[in-house]
């Protein structure tokens, strides 16, 4: 049965879009049939991160409003044939999404795919609630710092009240994805500890994604990091998180510090000084 997953956070810029692309690609690399859906209407970016920006013809709003068929709006990934993208509109605003339209699209997607990953916009407004509405489970993307954790707590509250599952009295499974985890800052004691974040939010940990320049490089190239550099630390962390999403029991490992070259050491020192 298809699984609808919302990737959400409340706070902006924590790594939702990066994570949607990487988890989606990792699931597809594992043989699953996946679609990633951009709900960030007006500020789409998932197309860029996936490297499909040149091929967008129709978008979510076109399909919601009946101007295009779902099949016409879906863009198949050039690297993985079992990975598709449903882009958001760039020129419209979030009010263009109607609850009925979104419901119709999600149920059509359920028939075509095993996994439907919804990239939520930041905030707690209509766009975010629309993205979580039909979810079967949620990935709560959080950085180990106070405002992000607080906003994640708000989002967890919404997941437990504003979703269809919540309204039906069902439990909404939630997973914590700690992203942009800066190992150097963690070592210096400048970031919240993983245990502390887990204790405060009290939802199970899906993975810890280290802050890494491989993520930046991947988005420059227009490829999810699990495709752009599969052996990198963030890619491995995303691949493991994807397996946990499928229900596999794997111990979460603390990412190890990246080995640095001579230049890295020099720059690293200068940055600290």
């Amino acid at each position: 049965m298809a699984q609808v997953v919302v990737v959400t956070s409340g706070k902006g810029g924590v790594g939702k879009t990066t994570s949607t692309a990487a988890l989606g690609a990792a699931l597809a690399q594992g043989g699953e049939n996946v679609v990633v859906v951009d709900f960030d209407v007006g500020l789409r970016n998932l197309d860029l991160v996936m490297g499909a920006e040149r091929r967008v013809v129709f978008d979510l709003v076109n399909v919601v409003q009946g101007d295009a068929k779902l099949a016409q709006a879906l863009i198949r990934d050039k690297r993985l044939e079992n990975l598709s993208l449903l882009p958001a509109s760039q020129t419209r605003d979030k009010d263009a999404l109607t609850p009925e339209g979104v419901e119709r699209i999600v149920s059509e997607l359920r028939e075509k795919f095993d996994w439907i990953l919804c990239d939520s916009p930041a905030g707690i407004e209509r766009g975010a609630t629309m993205a979580m509405r039909h979810a079967d489970m949620a990935v709560v993307v959080t950085n180990a710092e106070v405002s992000s954790v607080r906003d994640s707590d708000r989002i967890i509250g919404l997941l437990d009240s504003k979703t269809l599952r919540a309204e039906q009295g069902l439990r909404m499974p939630k997973h914590l994805l700690l992203t942009r985890y800066d190992l150097a800052r963690a070592a210096r004691g400048e970031m919240l500890k993983v245990e502390d974040v887990l204790e405060i939010l009290s939802i199970p940990l899906l993975g810890i994604i280290p802050e890494s320049q491989d993520v930046l490089r991947a988005s420059n190239l227009g490829a999810p990091v699990t495709l752009a550099s599969p052996a990198s630390a963030p890619a491995r962390a995303y691949a493991e998180a994807a397996k946990r999403l499928k229900g596999e029991q794997i111990q979460v490992t603390m990412p190890a510090a990246e080995p640095r070259g001579l230049f890295g050491k020099l720059f690293g020192r200068r940055a600290v000084a």
Binding site: V57, Q72, S219, N220, L221, G261
Partner: protein
């Protein structure tokens, strides 16, 4: 190895720059102007529909925005050559080409 890795990593910024230039050139052209793709689709389909019955669900449109050229690919599934030919007898050349 480390040096090589460093130089290889540098390569991604020019790629990003080029992708953005192409994308933004197209996006800026669309804002204010009308949606060229939607218009082309409507008009091309109208022309085809004059000769054969097209199922709107069986039309795939692919676009690749590039520099200097973009490509637009419109894929129309035609019912069956035989039936299409008999219903479109008045325009034999259109049927024959399909």
């Amino acid at each position: 190895m480390n040096l090589l890795a460093l130089f290889r990593k540098r390569d991604s910024a020019p790629v990003a720059r080029e992708r953005l230039q192409v994308l933004l050139a197209h996006e800026r052209a669309v804002v204010g102007g009308s949606d060229l793709i939607a218009i082309l689709q409507e008009e091309i389909l109208a022309v085809i529909a004059k000769h054969i019955a097209v199922d709107r669900d069986k039309v795939q449109i692919k676009l690749d925005r590039g520099d200097p050229v973009s490509t637009l690919e419109i894929d129309v599934e035609v019912p069956s050559l035989v039936r299409a030919a008999s219903t479109a007898r008045r325009v034999p050349e259109a049927a024959a080409r399909r």
